[in-house]
Amino acid sequence: MSGVPAGQIAVPTARRRLPRGPGNLRQGWDRLRRNRTGFLGLCLVTLVVLIAILAPMIAPYAPNDQSAMLHFGAQAPPSAAHWFGTDRSGYDVLTRTLYGAPTALLVGLGAMLIAAVIGVTVGALAGYLGGFADELLMRATEFFLVIPVFIVILAVVRLFGVVVIGTPLEGLPFLKLDAIIVLLGLFGWPPLARLARAEFLRLKQAEFVEAARCIGARRRDIVFRHILPNALPSLVVVTALGIGSAILAEAMISFLGFGDPKTISWGQSLYFNYQVLRVAPWAVLAPGMAIFLTVLGFNLLADGLSDAFNPRLKQ
């Protein structure tokens, strides 16, 4: 007590707060950083993002530079001038692989953005409203789950390419890649809807939501400020997994020859160079590795995020 004037002690001000511990995000980040595989996933994803942004700066050649064709330099093995060799069209394989990154991310993020908006809306409505709406929406989800998505998308993408000519769609500035992204999103939402429903069902009955309701919080605030933020961690995990699958799906569609010939994508490179696999394996292996590492990165990141933000799941 020495040294403190008596009058200044026992006056707790209303504004004084308890010292705050690290927030949820901070705690999650710390857990993610310590998780070896999760951190590896984060590194891989960061690398892909960096490459996607920096591709025009770090690529050694222009993406459409086919000059190697002129001096019989197509399908040339890796050398000092072309680190990953050149492919059958005379493109520099390293350049094309770097330029594939923005396309892959565009597909993954675009498709999952669409899927997340639909899935979370459907799941949230079903879980929060319950009753007849729940029954109806979940039956619809089940319906979309049994659509053989991949082969339907293949057919639709192919038909789009043909039929746009001579129809009212003809005048549209049409890109096949956009169609692929939209289709992957439109058919990719059911898993997210199921998860969102389960989370909303669980959180609807949580005590803090009950408390919010008791103090008269508006429904909009309950849904958007109390339930949604708490459902977000699990949703982000499934979305990250979905980004990987969407990238893989686009690669397979392109590999089968139904991709967008106007864009540079890893699947497209595989498709063009698969026939010369025996002569120029590097032209296939480089984009193949890029697909593998990207998909692996998102899978590991999802796994790490799941451990970091849902520690209760891991006993």
Binding site: V146, P148, F255, F292, N299
Partner: protein, 316 residues
């Protein structure tokens, strides 16, 4: 049960309707065909239009198609000029010839590997198995196929790189040996993915199950470890894996296009890719319907299997 069956039927009809309308919303079958085939006579176009009932609305055309499918008539393939039904069976069997052994082999391998890993949880063996399984699960199947072809067909020259049969003379004069030899690489590719994914699932379940009291009770009663693991633990650990097995079986034809393009395998996926390239409308409709039926059928079968295997679960 009856309710389930009715819902399954509704699903199949609904999905086929959706695909039908989706395709017809983009363009009708005759326009699609003509887009790639200039110089067709007006007469032929008129005959085709009559054949596809283009004078009626989309909804009527769907009902007509559904009616003929119900009678077992899938129409005639445009590129092959053969009835689609028998073609789907012929090509489908080639696909199943690869997919069924790949799933069964994957399951067997996964049971062995996952048991070993789960019993020695957090050991070096377990870590190795988990790393391998995670890599195998993340490796896209078609890349594995490409690598297998590059190494075993091109560099080492052991296995053929394409097809299901030799074109001229079969290997060693025996068509069975020839056919099996062609199956090795595609089978390896499919089995690798199935084994990796099933191992991940099974190990997680095994680790969980091995913690239960009844395992301790079994061990305490002096049963040999092998019996504890394979009789008591495995039986319970495998139940949640059934769902995934059902999906694998249900997707056998749906995942075929990629596998069969890599290995030029004359199966349902190959047929389908060819059909969309050539815009062979009856084959596209027929195969999407068959794939949907398979998905729904195996989902239903999984639900029934749960009830039969696990007495704690009942159908609603």
């Amino acid at each position: 049960m009856a309710r389930r069956l009715v819902f399954a039927l509704v699903l199949v009809v609904g999905v086929s309707a959706l695909i039908f309308f989706l395709i017809n919303a983009i363009g009708n079958p005759v326009d699609m065909l003509m887009a790639d085939r200039p110089g067709t006579t007006d007469q032929a176009i008129a005959a085709l239009k009559a054949y596809y009932h283009l004078d009626r609305g989309v909804f009527w055309r769907y009902l007509i198609w559904l009616g003929s499918v119900a009678r077992g008539d899938f129409g005639t393939s445009i590129t092959f000029n053969q009835p689609v039904g028998p073609m789907l069976i012929e090509y489908g069997l080639e696909t199943l010839k690869l997919q069924i052994p790949a799933i069964l082999l994957g399951l067997l391998l996964a049971i062995g590997i996952a048991s070993v890993a789960a019993v020695r949880q957090y050991s070096r063996v377990d870590f190795g198995v988990m790393t391998g399984a995670l890599l195998g699960h993340s490796l896209p199947g078609f890349l594995v196929g490409i690598l297998l072809i590059l190494v075993f067909a091109y560099w080492l020259g052991i296995f053929p790189s394409y097809g299901a049969y030799s074109t001229l003379t079969p290997l060693w004069g025996s068509s069975l040996a020839d056919s099996l030899w062609h199956m090795v690489l595609p089978l390896a590719m499919l089995t690798l993915f199935n084994t990796a994914t099933l191992t991940l699932l099974l190990r997680a379940n095994m680790v969980d199950v091995l913690r239960h009291d009844y395992i301790m009770a079994a061990r305490a009663s002096g049963l040999p470890e092998r019996r504890v693991v394979f009789r008591h633990a495995l039986r319970n650990a495998i139940i949640p894996v059934l769902t995934y097995l059902g999906i694998l079986f249900g997707l056998m034809l749906a995942t075929a296009p990629v596998t069969e393009s890599v290995f030029t395998w004359p199966g349902a996926g190959f047929l389908y890719i060819n059909a969309i390239q050539q815009l062979d409308y009856p084959v596209i409709m027929g195969e999407t319907l068959v794939v949907t039926i398979m998905l729904v059928f195996f989902t239903l079968l999984t639900d029934i299997a749960y009830v039969l295997i696990d007495p704690r679960i009942r159908l609603e």
